[in-house]
Structure formats: C-alpha cells, structure tokens
Amino acid sequence: MSGSRSSSWTIKVREKAIEALPPEKLLPDGQPTYVASWIYMFGVASIAALVVIITSGTILALKGPAWWHYTGIGHFFNSIHMWAVELFFFVMVVHLWGKYWMSAWRGGRARVWITGAITFLVAVPTALTGYVSQQNFDAQWISTQAKDGLNSVGVGAFFNVTNFGQMYSYHVLLLPIAVVALVSAHVLLVRRHGVVPPIELGKR
C-alpha cells in the first residue's frame, strides 16, 4: 500500500512543488533592503495594469461592440481598456530596461528573463489583435496596413488581420491565456529565485 502511495503522481507533483516553492518563498512576508527602490516597482505596476486590462476586457466582451461604440458607459470602459494597455506597455518597457541594466539573468535567473522577454513579444500581437477588433475605421486602417507587413513575412495565410472572427478569437482567448500563463510562470520563477540583487551585492 505504501509503495503504491509513493508512486502516486499527485504525491510526486506535490513534493516537487513544495521543494521548488516552499510556502515561505511563494508568499514571503519581506523583501531584501535593496528592493526599496522605485525601479523595482515597475514589474508589479505591469501586473496591476494587466489586471485592469483583463477586467475591462471581460466587461467589453460581455457587452459587445454596439455597447462599446454607442453608449457613454461603453465608451468609458473602452477607454479604460485602451489606456490600461498603453500603461501596461509603458511600465513593462521601463521594467525591461531596469532589468536589462541590472543583468537580471544573473544567479540562475535565465528563465526569469526569458519568460519576461517572451511575455513582451506575445503582448505585442495581443494588443494588435485588439486594435483590429474594434470594428471601426481605425481597425480597418490598422488591419489593411498590417496585412502588407504580415504578408511580406509569409504569415498572412495563417494570421489574417482582416478576418475579424479570427482576430477577435485570438484577442479574447488564445493570446490572453498565453500572456497570463507566461506572467504566472514569470512571477513563480521570481519567487523561486528571489529578486535580483544589485550587481555589487551579487559579486559578493
């Protein structure tokens, strides 16, 4: 009986998870002194903007294009969604610059850096599919401009920016899932390895 228990995949996964991320690492009650700097705030600011994006996007998806185009409250949530995206990219770029100049891949943190960089790359088409899903002249202009660029690199047959149904599906389901999964992995890896120390401390 004990042999079958130890071979259980749930036990193995649980033991591996606790070994990789014990509760005190997963939800720490303090951070090193060097984290008390504004440059360390841009990562959490990116997450805060992402929460606003997903919340406002969920409301827009529930109500639909007629609501976001023709009602005052629809315009409000449409604007909240768009400006949260602008803010998300703004703070994410400053976060990226900060981590680049800290060489944040030091001390076995390569996967932290890689997941962050891939999140940025996946966030770009997530935003693009949103701009072409607005159902207005702005979306029409952006999609007809973008199709030439995408066709020139040979992906137009698979990723057609003038196909509203395909772009909307990418925007409200596939790409947000990818972004949230990548951000979750990124945060869990930060928890596992700890926040990168300043370079002079890392050398000690």
């Binding site: 008390a36 700097s37 705030m41 703004f90 610059w97």
Partner: protein, 64 residues
C-alpha cells in the same frame, strides 16, 4: 468635455512625424519614448519612502 479637449488637441490632420536619417517616428511615439526615459531616470534617482530609515535600522541591527 470631449469638445473642450478636441479644441486643445486638434487631431484633424495627418500625424506629425520626426524624420532623422533612417529613423522615422510619429511625434506621439517620440513623446511616449521620452516619457519612458524620464520615468526610468526618475525611478533610479528618486529616493524610495522609508528606504533610508530601513537601511539605517538594518545597519544598526547588524552592529549590535
């Protein structure tokens, strides 16, 4: 309100573009990039509230 803002920011014209050698960027994007650089510099230069007192307390704790 929208009309008041519209009076301040007249958008009924082609975008202003900054063109320098091979670099060609809309002015709005140049402004946003400039603001990101400012935010980056300020985030490094500006002291974080309570950071100095926490560091001093930590040094005091270490020496005792």
């Amino acid at each position: 309100m929208i009309h008041v803002l519209g009076a301040i920011f007249n958008l009924s014209h082609p975008a202003h573009v900054v063109h320098w050698h091979f670099i060609k960027l809309p002015l709005a994007n140049v402004i946003v990039i400039g603001l990101m650089l400012v935010a980056f510099a300020v985030a490094i230069a500006l002291p974080f509230p309570g950071a100095a007192s926490r560091a001093a307390a930590r040094r005091g704790g270490d020496s005792s």
